[in-house]
């Protein structure tokens, strides 16, 4: 997975548009590094409605907990069940095995409004 080809939110989620029009999202390498060892994740169930910018889950590390914000409006198609037993995948491979949710966006145009890799990189440097 090439992180430069993804879209990003200011809340440190990445989003990948699939060929079939669905979108996959997770948290960024920057976010997992800031959180430290991730030990527990809660994610929305398939069928759940998502609203862009609204919290839809939590990712918890040994030291703190952080909300997961939906990057787009839409409906959950799948959650990454493997994270229930191996949440550390988010640390090891945030853009691959550590993906969180696959969703069906309700407004395909919304994706273009997210940050580019360069814009997100500039944001994390400022942080």
């Amino acid at each position: 997975m090439d992180p430069t080809q993804l879209r990003y939110t200011a809340e440190h989620e990445w989003v990948r548009e699939e060929a079939d029009g669905t979108a996959v999202f997770g948290i960024t390498a920057f976010a997992q590094d800031a959180l430290g060892d991730i030990v527990y994740v809660t994610m929305p169930a398939p069928g759940a409605a998502l609203s862009a910018g609204v919290a839809c889950g939590e990712v918890e590390s040994t030291k703190s907990v952080s909300d997961i914000y939906a990057p787009l409006d839409g409906v959950v198609i799948a959650r990454n069940d493997t994270l229930d037993s191996a949440p550390e995948s988010i640390n090891a491979d945030p853009y691959g095995a550590g993906w969180l949710v696959t969703m069906q966006p309700s407004d395909p145009g919304q994706l273009a409004g997210l940050l580019s890799a360069a814009e997100y990189a500039a944001l994390t440097l400022k942080d």
């Binding site: 430290g36 060892d37 030990v39 527990y40 939590e58 918890e60 590390s61 040994t62 030291k63 907990v65 550390e88 640390n91």
Partner: protein, 375 residues
């Protein structure tokens, strides 16, 4: 705001990629590679921690032990020269209800009747020094060595072999100390720690601290030495149920409430806060520090409310508050210390309000993990 203080090892931590953060006014390493890996290394091999932010105070002069014994909770006559003891400095006020809270908890090292070394918590050290100076009789000197000495904790089952390889005394009992030398400078090898493992705390002049750190780390291939940060120190001590001042102990949380009556010399005629603590012990504390162990995936955090079980909801009455809580890397579940109503019994089920979710916990008596300090 004052700039953060740094230990002599700060450059070493940054060079090793540590995440640094403010801890008690000191810029300290929280983690290097990750809390879980560092925690596991201490439980299975050996970890080295820079704990030079801790206070260091020497109390010297005729009657030093007698002076401290009239002030600190524990009975210094339970130990002799060469032994260490966990104790507390409590608040003494003319108003009984304002007495008995804990100014700080500390380890005292008894060298002689006129010579005691003391390690208070980093942020409390100035108030401990001030209280001692205010109370000290003529001839007893309070020497603040906070910035003159550093402390490296060496903790874990391989610590004994590591200390031996350094040519330092390794065979003394838990809660005792021995004198040694490193690069010609005096080093105290204390058999103390905050992890529950067999371990040592090396107290050395700041001038040799970097060399001492490097010498321990140079043996990493042989003994599996890992740098461990304050993040792992916190998960390790929470698994042991060791209280942290400012969370599980404070001016508002007395030794009786925190279950530390064992560290109070009740038969002593005098110590700060005595009248209030004796009264509280007799009437029974209004709350009691207990352990909580998760029955689901919930991870408790300080200040979360503890409630009675009421179905799956948060409708039960509030019966306490979490003071320390984390994910236990050893047990792989949430654990907490919590101040609970005294009517709550060991073995009871309770509910913790984990950000609006009702998470179920069992009330336990810490430790959560069996200590290996004396092995």
């Amino acid at each position: 705001m004052n700039p953060l203080k740094q230990t002599p090892l700060a450059e070493r931590h940054v060079a090793a990629g540590a995440k640094m953060a403010d801890f008690g006014g000191w810029e300290m390493p929280i983690e290097y590679t990750g809390v879980v890996a560092e925690h596991t290394a201490v439980r299975s091999a050996v970890g080295i921690f820079d704990v030079s932010h801790m206070g260091k105070v020497r109390i010297q002069g005729p009657g030093a032990v007698a002076f401290l014994n009239d002030l600190l909770t524990n009975d210094l006559d339970r130990i002799t020269s060469g032994q260490a003891q966990y104790t507390m400095l409590c608040k003494e006020s003319e108003v009984l209800s304002e007495s008995g809270g804990v100014i700080d908890d500390l380890i005292v090292y008894r060298w002689a009747d006129d010579d005691i070394f003391m390690v208070p918590n980093a942020s409390n050290a100035p108030s401990v020094v001030a209280a001692l100076r205010a109370a000290a009789p003529a001839g007893v000197e309070i020497v603040d060595l906070h910035n003159d000495l550093g402390i490296i904790a060496v903790q874990g089952p391989r610590s004994k072999a590591l200390i031996e390889s350094m040519g330092m005394p390794d065979d003394h009992d838990y809660m005792t100390m021995a004198e040694s030398k490193f690069r010609g400078e005096p080093v105290t090898v204390c058999r103390t720690g905050y992890t529950g493992e067999h371990g040592y705390e090396l107290v050395a002049p700041v001038s040799v601290l970097v060399e001492l750190w490097d010498a321990l780390l140079a043996r990493r291939d042989e003994f599996g030495v890992v740098r461990a940060g304050l993040g792992a120190r916190d998960t390790l001590r929470t698994e042991m149920g060791y209280p942290l001042h400012g969370q599980d102990l404070s001016l508002d949380i007395s030794p009786v409430q925190a279950g530390l009556a064992w560290a109070v010399g009740w038969d002593k005629p005098e110590f700060a806060g005595r009248a209030a603590l004796v009264a509280e012990r007799e009437s029974g504390p209004r709350r009691r520090l207990r352990g909580l162990k998760s029955m689901d995936r919930g991870i408790p955090r300080p200040h979360m409310e503890v409630r009675q079980v009421a179905g799956d909801a948060l409708a039960g009455a509030v019966i306490g508050e979490v003071t320390s809580g984390t994910f236990s890397p050893t047990l792989k579940q949430g654990i907490a210390l919590a101040l609970l109503d005294p009517s709550v019994n060991i073995g009871d089920e309770v509910v913790v309000d984990v950000r609006g979710r009702a998470s179920k916990f069992t009330v336990t008596k810490p430790p959560f993990v069996e200590p290996s300090t004396r092995t």
